[in-house]
Symmetry: C2
Subunit: 414 residues, 2 copies
């Protein structure tokens, strides 16, 4: 089994100024390729700490990926530390220097000594060319170990992972698959679920690991096998296990989780040549941004509206103002009219609408914070549903967006 340690560098992580999403995306890619991450570590911009962490990582893993600390300023010390660890001197890489100069020229920025320093790399490393930024990635080989240093800017790191790091790792090691598959259950408490499936759990093969991932009203069950000799056989084994599980709790299985639901909707609409419009109130543009984030969405995503004000609901979507006054902006009637209005003004085949109370204020006994009405309008009919979506503004926006997209998906699958 090839294992990896991920090290993210930056005081901003240790003081809680940023959320570390880099290590999440790195872990995902490594896992998908069959490299098992055994530890993730975040440390400060401190040479001693970086050296100690690398030393430890090299003892426990073949692959070490470090992000951050590659900028042009004095607080960025990763490159110098790596050069020292690998007993290598820093030399200018011509191709990188020219690339940095060109990138800055486009933005009308002069190439100065600090920028030039970005083209310095330890002599012993292979440069991973960063087409999307000025700090190059670096690849170090030492016997069975590979150490990879990547910039901390998420999209630069992601491109380098996909285009440079993963292909190289796949050819460097002979990798065997890790498989993770998650089944979503709902409406059953974790302890009751565990009791109900105890026999099935006890009979799991030794190489299959079960994890319970509880969240409100949903418990996800993940089966994992690492370092599979035969990927196809291992996948079939997991499918068989889930089939047995399904027979025990058929009413509580909501579905599987691999592709996000918006990706499934994206695929379906693209294949069918059908179109979508979105009318959002409490979700505030989140549903639109989830669809438009996907390349190719312009083929089906016609338009979205974020109608916060009652007047906007009336003027843009044609929602009946009297109904807003009578039933409230957060009501089945308004949700339905929003979805139907979005279809009408855009000519889309499908439309989603959300209207709810995202808080922290605006709740009442009858309609507490978290109350969200969701409607989906289709070519033949409109459905609406009330979904309580939590207590915290961010949580409500995210959950209500997920519920709404799921509702559309179910309609598309009917």
């Amino acid at each position: 089994m090839i294992t990896a340690t991920i090290i993210t560098i930056g005081d901003e992580i240790l003081i809680g100024q940023i959320v570390d999403t880099n290590s999440v995306s790195i872990a995902k890619q490594l896992n998908a390729a069959g490299i098992t991450v055994t530890e993730k570590l975040s440390i400060g911009d401190n040479a001693e700490q970086i050296e100690a962490a690398l030393g430890r990582a090299h003892q426990q893993s073949q692959v070490v990926i470090i992000t951050g600390g590659l900028g042009p300023t004095k607080d960025d010390i990763t490159k110098h530390t790596l050069a020292r660890i690998f007993s290598s001197s820093l030399v200018e890489n011509k191709a990188v220097a020219e690339h940095v100069e060109r990138m800055l020229a486009v933005r009308g920025i002069a190439f100065n000594a600090l920028n030039r320093s970005q083209a310095l790399v330890p002599e012993c490393c292979t440069v991973l060319f960063n087409h999307h930024g000025t700090a190059p990635g670096m690849w170090f080989e030492q016997r069975e170990h590979v150490t990879i240093s990547l910039p901390g800017v998420p999209f630069e790191m992601e491109h380098l992972m996909e285009d440079e790091v993963m292909p190289r790792l796949k050819s460097y090691y002979s990798l065997r698959a890790n498989i993770h598959r998650t089944m979503i259950t709902s409406g059953i408490a974790e302890s009751i679920l565990a009791e109900r499936i105890a026999e099935w759990e006890d009979a799991l093969p030794a190489d299959v690991k079960l994890a319970y991932l509880p969240s409100p009203n949903i418990v996800r069950l993940r089966l994992s096998t690492y370092d599979c000799e035969d990927e196809t056989v291992a996948r079939q084994q997991i499918e068989q296990l889930f089939k047995k599980l399904y027979k025990i709790i058929p009413d509580n299985i909501v579905g599987y989780e691999d592709a996000s639901v918006q990706q499934l909707v994206h695929q379906l609409l693209t294949e069918r040549g059908q179109t979508l419009a979105v009318a959002e109130s409490c979700t505030g543009g989140t549903i639109a941004s989830r669809f438009t984030a996907m390349a190719g969405s312009s083929a089906y995503f016609l338009a979205g509206v974020v109608v916060y004000a009652n007047e906007a609901k009336r003027d843009i979507l044609g929602v009946n103002y009297d109904d807003i006054m009578r039933y409230g902006a957060v009501s089945e009637q308004v949700a339905r009219q929003m979805a139907e209005g979005a279809r009408r003004i855009t000519g889309a085949d499908y439309a989603i609408a959300t209207t709810g109370i995202a808080g922290p204020t605006g709740g009442s006994a009858e309609k507490p914070v978290g109350t969200v009405w969701i409607a989906v309008a289709t070519p033949t009919h409109t459905i609406a549903m009330m979904r309580p979506s939590g207590t915290d503004r961010g949580q409500i926006v995210n959950r209500a967006s997920a519920y709404a997209i799921e509702m559309l998906y179910k309609e598309l699958k009917k």
Copy 2:
């Protein structure tokens, strides 16, 4: 200086299934109280790894906080591992048992053996009562060390940190403040900024640490001092340093702290009682969702539209279709008409519009991927600007959103 190590436990973190936000909120609270986090570590649900990590953490920090692995199911092993490490046996805590039974009864769930196991705690620990969930927190003292185990459910963990852990830590140690203050600069590249402020940076006192935090079009500069003898004096020192900095780059200072530019706009519009509408094409709802994510935004945010299709630009915003055909959807003319249309249909005081090529396809020699036209319409005039926003879809959306919000901010500050 009191230092801490944060350990988050769970295979779901190592395979990239979840983003670890627990350690962010713990780090924030510890830092605010003057406890310096030197390392964050994520490991799997594995007894050996947990023991090894705890051993190392105890060598380097006085405070160790562990989250996760406290559920009722078999994959949750933190409690057993802690009992072994502290050579203590597990005993049932009556108060916790009653609380778990009561919590489940409310949800109509029977109290079974698994639930009863949640009331088992190592005899040597102090129970931190979890009012919001079934897994109790635990506090272990050993000479100068404190080890704290918390449930992994974010909401439960946060309540325990605030209500139980922080008050206890503050009384257990005599703490001295850590101070972090961040200034936001815009419109100046990191390398040019570093050159411009080099003299100021070189003259910083030895105990003040500077960090550059670059993001699209914005570089934040953070000054930190740890373990301050006199908090007031240290705060004044940082203020003085920032005042000097202001004199060097007065035109590039946007604001202080981690207020994002949208928060500054939010403040200004709220204070002035003015309103905003947004018309997005390439940014696809991201600008709307940034504003609506902030509590209280409904006071000024009237509506947003995401007009991907040309017909939607015409039908919803009244953009002249001939102009779209003549100049292209990504053009100054269309951006201006979108912003003005958004003002007109909503009656908002201000409107932002974006139209660009987010890619990966749709670019041309004349208008390559990343070309974005941004317009801001105000009560008196409309401005428009072309901003090249990068090469990657996500990057283009984020940068163009940042540019657009900044353009509005500058208009508001005029």
